[in-house]
């Protein structure tokens, strides 16, 4: 009995299901399908309760807070709300000194970072996927940044990597001045490329990319591993065929490798967007507004707006990429 019922529902005719339900009702028991559904729901129930309690409820509360002026009364363990409509949103966009600016710059940063990180991690993954001596060591090194992503550590690493430009050890007044001015040397290179006649927008992109190199490297650890996994799942016979047909390495990349890893580009883009958003300036601003300025309503409004923007961007990117994604199965 048990074995036959284990077939997926699609294979069972409706009539036989009806018969079985009738039989089950006679005995006062559930059918196996129903019982499995119940057990399945039991399996996910802890998460489901948590999701409702902590996510759905919190999102609802955030929505409510953003429409109100909140005064916290922690002594009594409560808070009082005063409905002010959309004032918080209007304030954030029209009166707040930095919100719109920070929001735009955070999103732009993200839009610059995402293609760079994705392309970079794909390139590195292809390199690390071929066999060479010391591959394990190199992979371990590339995964290191994932381990060292604590805030204090990241801050210390940042200052250390800026110091690297001046040599690891000594630190004199000159170096400190260079650090403060930051882009002292970069402007020289920019002027060189301007003379060469590169369009300024492209130049800006390249400069900012070079400027971000260390942050790009340190935030592409997980993406590299995901891409390596994807590359390893490509069947070698595809490459064999390509070689026999006389395809060059370049053609093989565009016609075999890229289509085969394209489903994972979306995964990586989602991961990158979320990951870079969590540490972006706008999040810091919302956090600061909340816990330092104690303006809870405004902070909730900021968080919701920025999350909505990011989700919209994410949806748009996924939509665009999925049009070019190739699914093998």
């Amino acid at each position: 009995m048990a074995e036959t019922n284990q077939k997926p529902e699609g294979q069972q005719t409706k009539a036989s299901q009806n018969v079985k339900t009738a039989q089950a009702k006679k005995k006062g028991r559930l059918t196996l399908m129903q019982r499995r559904a119940l057990v399945g729901f039991l399996f996910i129930s802890p998460w489901f309760i948590g999701f409702l309690l902590f996510y759905v409820r919190s999102l609802y509360l955030a929505g409510v807070f953003s429409l109100n002026k909140i005064s916290l009364d922690l002594a009594q363990g409560g808070y009082s709300l005063e409905f002010i409509g959309l004032d918080n949103y209007i304030y954030a966009f029209t009166k707040h000194g930095t919100f719109s600016q920070v929001l735009v710059s955070s999103v732009t940063d993200m839009l610059i970072d995402v293609p760079l990180i994705t392309a970079f991690s794909l390139l590195i993954a292809i390199m690390l996927n071929s066999r060479f001596k010391g591959r394990t060591l190199v992979r371990a090194i590339f995964f290191l940044p994932v381990l060292l992503n604590s805030q204090a550590i990241v801050a210390a690493m940042d200052s250390a990597s800026r110091l690297m430009a001046a040599g690891v050890g000594a630190m004199d007044a000159e170096t400190m001045a260079d650090l403060q001015s930051g882009a002292a040397n970069i402007s020289y290179y920019i002027s060189i490329f301007k003379v060469l006649g590169l369009p300024e927008s492209i130049l800006d992109y390249i400069v900012s990319a070079a400027d971000r190199l260390s942050s790009i490297v340190s935030s592409s650890g997980v993406q590299i591993v995901i891409f390596i996994a994807a590359l390893q799942s490509i069947s070698p016979s595809l490459y064999e065929v390509a070689r026999i047909e006389g395809a060059t390495t370049y053609e093989t990349f565009w016609k075999v490798t890229l289509p085969m890893v394209s489903p994972l580009i979306i995964t990586n883009v989602v991961y990158t967007v979320v990951d870079s958003f969590v540490v972006s300036e706008i999040v810091e601003l919302a956090y600061y507004t909340n816990f330092t300025e104690l303006n809870y309503g405004l902070s909730s409004a900021m968080s919701l707006v920025s999350s909505a923007v990011v989700c919209a961007v994410l949806g748009l990117i996924c939509f665009l990429i999925s049009r070019y994604t190739f699914y093998y199965n």
């Binding site: 998460w47 996510y55 210390a156 110091l163 004199d172």
Partner: protein, 365 residues
């Protein structure tokens, strides 16, 4: 004839045929005939060389070698360079944590300090009350890891193997959970745990709502309900992994009379070891490094290392009345080395399982 072929093969095997030797072979291959009258003419020589298959092969082989050499150089330069970008700061942090005050402003000093000192470590160690906080952190991190693995694998198994109404919708919710940034719900969570009142039980029992802030409990509650730090991602990993496992194993267990929960615990979880290892290490590392939840739940300052380290440089500059931020940074570096040391050791020990686990655990799907 046979001898020439053997000779040609031998030459090919040798791999490097000087141009002269290919000329010798030309005379023996009948298809190539150099006209007698224009002997020494350059054009004819070129034509002869073009028609000479032997030379062509050698040329292609050398070009391929050159190509792969260029590729190898490019790859090595890239890998070494990027590895330096990653490791450089780490080396600098480690080396500067041994600097004495005089080394810091000495321009002659590069990486290796002239007067190495352990003062930074001794002070950082004692001001962080390292042993106590470390033990607390480890217990906290490991217990949360166990909870995460159990709960998330259960949820993942439920999603991967059972059919129930609204499954697609629920799966969408998991994705939403991954995508929503935590900061959106930070403040509501803060309020929730400040006035914690599940089913009004605390209020009925003691007359007031529970304030759970300042303790570890909120994190345990959230993790227990599968909504802890990055739980969405762990659930997703498990869903993908269980989907990839063959159904036959559990069907066999089921036919033999094992219950569904028994099957999950004794059979499926054992088979999901790569995913378990991945989630376990991710969970340990991220929980160990986490500051946003710890700050939000008002963890006491001696609760976890990640909080402790972020206030270390202030603590030391106050306690030892050091006004130079560069010297405080040295103490901070020593503290950072102390904090990342356990993770590094764990990583070095489990490195292979880690990277391969991620590769096999079906994030790829």
């Amino acid at each position: 004839m046979a001898e020439t072929i053997v000779a040609a093969d031998a030459a090919q095997n040798a791999g490097s045929i000087p141009l002269g030797s290919s000329g010798e072979n030309v005379d023996e291959i009948p298809s190539v005939n150099i006209p007698e009258e224009n002997e020494g003419s350059l054009l004819d020589k070129i034509r002869a060389l073009r028609e000479d298959k032997q030379f062509e092969n050698t040329r292609i082989r050398w070009m391929n070698r050159l190509k792969s050499l260029v590729l190898w150089i490019f790859r090595t330069v890239m890998i070494v360079g990027i590895s330096y970008v990653i490791i450089g700061p780490l080396i600098s942090i480690i080396s500067s944590s041994f600097f004495s005050d005089s080394d810091l402003y000495n321009n002659m000093v590069f990486v290796i300090p002239q007067n190495p000192t352990l003062e930074r470590y001794i002070n950082a160690f004692s001001y962080m009350s390292y042993p106590k906080v470390f033990v607390k952190t480890i217990l906290y991190t490991l217990s949360l890891m166990v909870l995460n693995v159990l709960v998330c694998s259960m949820v993942g198994y439920g999603f991967a193997r059972f059919e129930f109404p609204f499954k697609k919708l629920f799966f969408g919710m998991v994705v939403v959970m991954i995508v929503i940034p935590i900061h959106t719900i930070l403040f509501p969570l803060y309020i929730t745990f400040h006035n914690f009142n599940p089913l009004w039980i605390p209020q009925l029992a003691t007359g007031q709502k529970l304030n759970l802030l300042g303790t570890y409990i909120p994190m345990y509650i959230m993790t227990l309900f599968g909504t802890g730090l990055r739980s969405g991602l762990y659930i997703y990993i498990f869903i993908q992994f269980f989907r990839g496992l063959p159904k036959e194993i559990e069907e066999a267990a089921f036919v033999d009379g094992a219950g569904m929960f028994y099957t999950y615990f004794r059979i499926m979880l054992r088979n999901a070891m790569p995913a378990v290892v991945t989630v376990a290490i991710f969970s340990i590392v991220w929980q160990y490094n986490d500051t946003s939840y710890a700050r939000m739940f008002n963890f006491p300052s001696d609760a976890v290392l990640s909080i402790r380290i972020s206030s270390l440089s202030d603590t030391i500059s106050n306690a030892m009345s050091i006004s130079d931020p560069n010297i405080t940074a040295l103490f901070n570096n020593a503290g950072i080395v102390l904090v990342i040391l356990p993770v590094m050791i764990l990583y070095i020990v489990l490195q292979k399982q880690f990277v391969e686990g991620v590769e096999r655990s079906g994030i790829v799907g």
